[in-house]
Symmetry: C2
Subunit: 793 residues, 2 copies
Amino acid sequence: MASLGDIGVSALINIITAFAFLIAFALLRIQPINDRVYFSKWYISGARTSPRHDNIVSRFVNLDCKTYLSFLNWMPQALRMKEPEIIQHAGLDSAAFLRIYLLGLKIFGPAAIVAFLVLIPVNVSGGMLFFFSRELVTRDIDKLSISNVREKSPKLFAHISVMYLFTFWSCYMLYKEYDVVASMRLNFLASKSRRVEQFTVLVKNVPRIPGRSVSNTVDCFFKKNHSTHYLCHQVVYNANKYARVVRKRQKLQNRLDYNRLKFERHPEKPPTRKTGFLGLWGEKVGSIEYYQKKIKELDEKLTTEHHKILNDPKRIMPAAFVSFNSRWGAAVCAQTQQSKNPILWLTDWAPEPRDIYWKNLAIPFVSLSIRKLVISLAVFTLVFFYIIPIAFVQSLANLEGLEKVVPFLRPVIELNFIKSFLQGFLPGLALKIFLWLLPGILMTMSKIEGHVAFSVLETSTASKYYFFMLVNVFLGSIATGTAIEQLQSFLHESPTQIPRTIGVAIPMKATFFITYIMVDGWAGMAGEILRLKPLIMFHLKSMLLVKTDRDKTKAMNPKSIDFPEAIPSLQLYFLMGAVYAVVTPVLLPFILIFFAFAFFVYRHQVINVYNQRYESAAAFWPHVHTRIVASLMISQLLLMGLLSTKKAVNSTPLLIVLPVLTLTFHKYCKSRFEPAFRKYPLEEAVEKDAQDEGSEPTVDIIPYMCEAYLHPVLRSIEEFELFELGIDNNQSHIPNQQLPTKPVSGSHSPISEQENKGSPKMQQHVEVAVEQHQTAHTCHHKKSTLNMDVTHY
Amino acid sequence: MASLGDIGVSALINIITAFAFLIAFALLRIQPINDRVYFSKWYISGARTSPRHDNIVSRFVNLDCKTYLSFLNWMPQALRMKEPEIIQHAGLDSAAFLRIYLLGLKIFGPAAIVAFLVLIPVNVSGGMLFFFSRELVTRDIDKLSISNVREKSPKLFAHISVMYLFTFWSCYMLYKEYDVVASMRLNFLASKSRRVEQFTVLVKNVPRIPGRSVSNTVDCFFKKNHSTHYLCHQVVYNANKYARVVRKRQKLQNRLDYNRLKFERHPEKPPTRKTGFLGLWGEKVGSIEYYQKKIKELDEKLTTEHHKILNDPKRIMPAAFVSFNSRWGAAVCAQTQQSKNPILWLTDWAPEPRDIYWKNLAIPFVSLSIRKLVISLAVFTLVFFYIIPIAFVQSLANLEGLEKVVPFLRPVIELNFIKSFLQGFLPGLALKIFLWLLPGILMTMSKIEGHVAFSVLETSTASKYYFFMLVNVFLGSIATGTAIEQLQSFLHESPTQIPRTIGVAIPMKATFFITYIMVDGWAGMAGEILRLKPLIMFHLKSMLLVKTDRDKTKAMNPKSIDFPEAIPSLQLYFLMGAVYAVVTPVLLPFILIFFAFAFFVYRHQVINVYNQRYESAAAFWPHVHTRIVASLMISQLLLMGLLSTKKAVNSTPLLIVLPVLTLTFHKYCKSRFEPAFRKYPLEEAVEKDAQDEGSEPTVDIIPYMCEAYLHPVLRSIEEFELFELGIDNNQSHIPNQQLPTKPVSGSHSPISEQENKGSPKMQQHVEVAVEQHQTAHTCHHKKSTLNMDVTHY
């Protein structure tokens, strides 16, 4: 058991680290040369451009001394922007993400006050207030926790009461928060201007009818079953191979540009390379000619491939994006069952075009079930047995193994100092690498599962990551032994024994978790704001690759908030808080500081740095809510186990009520709020439709519909680049006024113009477009008669 | 352990009992006097009327000797009707119910063959076939079961293989059956002529808007959000109190009739009664005048109450039946979310009018959640702790208690013979009464839960009953001690220990279950076909009450199939079969005989006796499927436990695969077939709508819509009587041709005519009807323009 003094030392070290990071950040961010790293969001939104200075030095270094004095002013700045502005500026996902931290403060703030006023005095003594006495500070931290209370003591009822209070307070805050976020979501969706995804439904598992194309099948089906609302559709092309070739071409183009630049600088020495593997051997040729030839070859390949995509019926996936002439029609189609066979014609809302994970659009229904099974088994195995391969690698990666691989380093390795360092370092290395790779592995698993949108992929990854953290970080730290050993012992213990085993260990691990909070939370957040890795990458890229403004944008690569990692880590703090609120309340202030600090940091980052790849309108909130409720229930069960070891058996009925109530609360919230996140109410759809009719009745939305859901690589290579970077090109927004430059009908769709700008010429699938426009116009005509009908009614 | 001989004796006794019942049935059913008991379905469908005989004796007794010779010919008769005819005759619910027994035969028939060919030889010896030797028959039954196999024997892999085979075979049959039933359901729904429930949606939780009536709110909402499809609506009146008064009046009327009859027979002695409590004391008055006065009072009360219902806004519940002009419109409304607030405007398909449980239509959303919680806790308590109050009652109802209550019987009770009889009888009495009351208790619980249709109530009761049987009959028979003790020990045992504890006991309990199958299954089924209780009740009623043909129909009271009891009991046999298929295969023939015999019996009853109260189109099938799959998984876990005691530890990985696969199969089936039972595909709706348009485009469906969902008591007392008896009056069927006798618009709706027939005059809620017809006609006009639009398209 660590004393309070030990924790003080640890806190000091971490606070110093955090401050060092903060000062570094404060100094670096005011240097103009780092501007694009720390304010990338503003560059992307176009509010900031490269600063122009006369002085060459002032382009790189900030020479204005005054700004150095106010180096901590980012904190008030981060608070200045109001929530509605943040939603406007960065989207609802970011705003809702920030609210999780606020929720933490709201739940644990009052909890900390009550716990400090009631529980710590009770724990320390017979409830008398010699709480502020000098002795206390140097005492064991356990004196402040429930461990200090004697067995069968009636004082334990104070803990039970506080648990009740805490549960009710948490549920109240969770309910309020869910309510607020749900209405924020509805308002956000309502305030959005017309966007294609509001009118579009993704249809999967279109049946293959022999002798008819997918496009034709879809058209017939929806003309028949949604006759008055169906507008047009876009079939999904399997362009994965094409996209791979395009990516390859981009790489070659990049090398070509680099070589040309080199040649411009040194015209006397034309760059050469060898034709063999990786340019290591083979005939020596001029680089520029070599790459030009390669690119030409690829271009030919691209043309045939493009032709194939448009003409080979096998390249058309049994899925389609079906657009409707009103939100009502789309809402109806997304929520109803279409076909007599429930696994055909599956409809769901189409994700935003930039949110789509194109590769997964063609997975058949049976395969999806199998994939889900396989992946859930794989996740289970990963969580409980990941230690086996790592232990195996560790056994290989020891000093002897190293000496065999690099025998010439033997004298160095044999040095005592280095040897002990390596012995301490090597075994951990495999684990570190694994943990670093973990989010990627989990994301791959989610991709195999077959979700079709990045937002869903990230939510699914977050769930898996949380499960891993819960078992291996939280329970793993409390119980002894590895996860497999725990699993083994849990299988052979009685169900009532499990919470008891863990419950007993909980108060003893408080210091560990306090340290964890300081290292992972405090210092980690300070590291987050410093953005060391992106900073270095940006400067490296700037030096080596950047030639145009466009390249600079690419080099910034601001990324989105890392939801799959950030949300589960954050929820681990909720779990710790809930578990220790009653057991060892001294942990709460550390968590509160984390929540407050992280809130500042992320608010700053959301405003200045991150650029969200997609906007799901806080679709992750139900998961957040569910997992916080689960944390509450875990804490209740563990407290029950802990109290049963205190022989307060008569308290069990009192405590058993809590999980039941919490579960009921969860179920109620689920039916009360979740539909707002899964479905789109018809009332809302009708209102928005009516608004549109009133304000801009003449806009022809068809051209936007038909193109928005084309695979970006089939539009133009530039668009594809932007798509891969996750930058919104506003393609999915339907303007209020028709832009005069964009013709609205026939085969001259806007995309053909964009193509002419500079990227390689690609064939346009004219046939489809023409057919779609014809269909669409018929529908549109019908729509206006329908609308008149409604108005006259 | 019973020997095979013991079981032979038991089988003989039960077979004799069953045969006695069967012969009694065969003799009784051909007596004309019992005709209405054994062929009630035909009387209700109108295919059979009271037989007319010249001879007074032949009206009561069958004198044709020939018919006595062929007294077992009901069996082939029961098979003669083909399945489509049964569906036509008795509905899909009955046909699907019969298929469960066939499914049992299909699953366990081949399983029995394989088990007998493979497992019994393996169990008996080293796999050698001295299986048919004479010795065997007299041996212990355990010699035939897995108990006979030595520990760690490799023969256990034969059992594992058979378990695999059995699981795959069962899943294959289940899948095929689900497929068949799902398509039967779709065909059935498609073949149905127009019925009101196809066009109607039940809307619950209509918000109360101050200053506006519910009717007005509903009208505005649907006119706005389903403008082109909304037709009319029927608000729900709280007529529960009114119905109570009507029931009271019916009782009085009955007594009045009885007294009048008495007076007619004995005009010299007018019947009298006392005015006090139960007619036991007070002033003596003439019975006829007394009842006439009482009825007059009630009639006045009814008039005011009826007036109140129609005029008091508080009597209008926040729910409504909303009708649409097409199945498409109704399907859309039933499947989508209407309001921004997910707990308002909840829509779902309206049940058939005769299926509605009117009392539960007004429960608000929050109350529903609480009710669900309370009832699930209550069911848990009931299942695990029901023994406590019963033990308490038992402790009271002993001989001493009896002697205190009836001291004058003391000498009789003290007789040794009677004493020992009572001692054996009394303690069991409380339990017997409880078990007899149980289905009623569970049904009441389901009603409190707040389901709005009888079909759902019965499914929900069936689930509860199955849970009770699983814990108290199946597990209770295997494990020792009461359910509470088991719960206690399970909580303190490790999760792997539980299947082991039960698994070990399983082979030992085989003889018990064989006896159970013979008593509950064989003899029970024979009792079912005899219908002793309805037979006695019918003759009692015929003697005492019956005056008109209508009364005779009432006295028949054929009832429906008792789904809440029949389905769970039946599924218990699936569970036993699955568990013992591998462990003690000799049990299988007994189950097969049960399934075959029960199939005959129920087929006969379905054709000749039962009159289903409602038609849910096999809506219970997903539950049946789920519980059979659950039985499979239970059997797999128990086999795993059993094998682990055989120290065949290396078989665990092999067996752990099975539950996982079974669960996946279940999930797949759920998503593959369940939507067919919960939703109504738009494709189907459009097809049916188009058919209607083609065949009978001129029918005005509005009058039927508006009345079908009026509380039956508000229509006329006669209808209410029929409703309470569960007899379909075909009110919900929309005829193809308009009947010339029924005026279709204005306030002269068909119901007002029926009212004049003889039941007390009731006020008609003319205002509402008029308003509805006006609304409806507007809509209808719009509908035809819409249809033209579609046809022209």
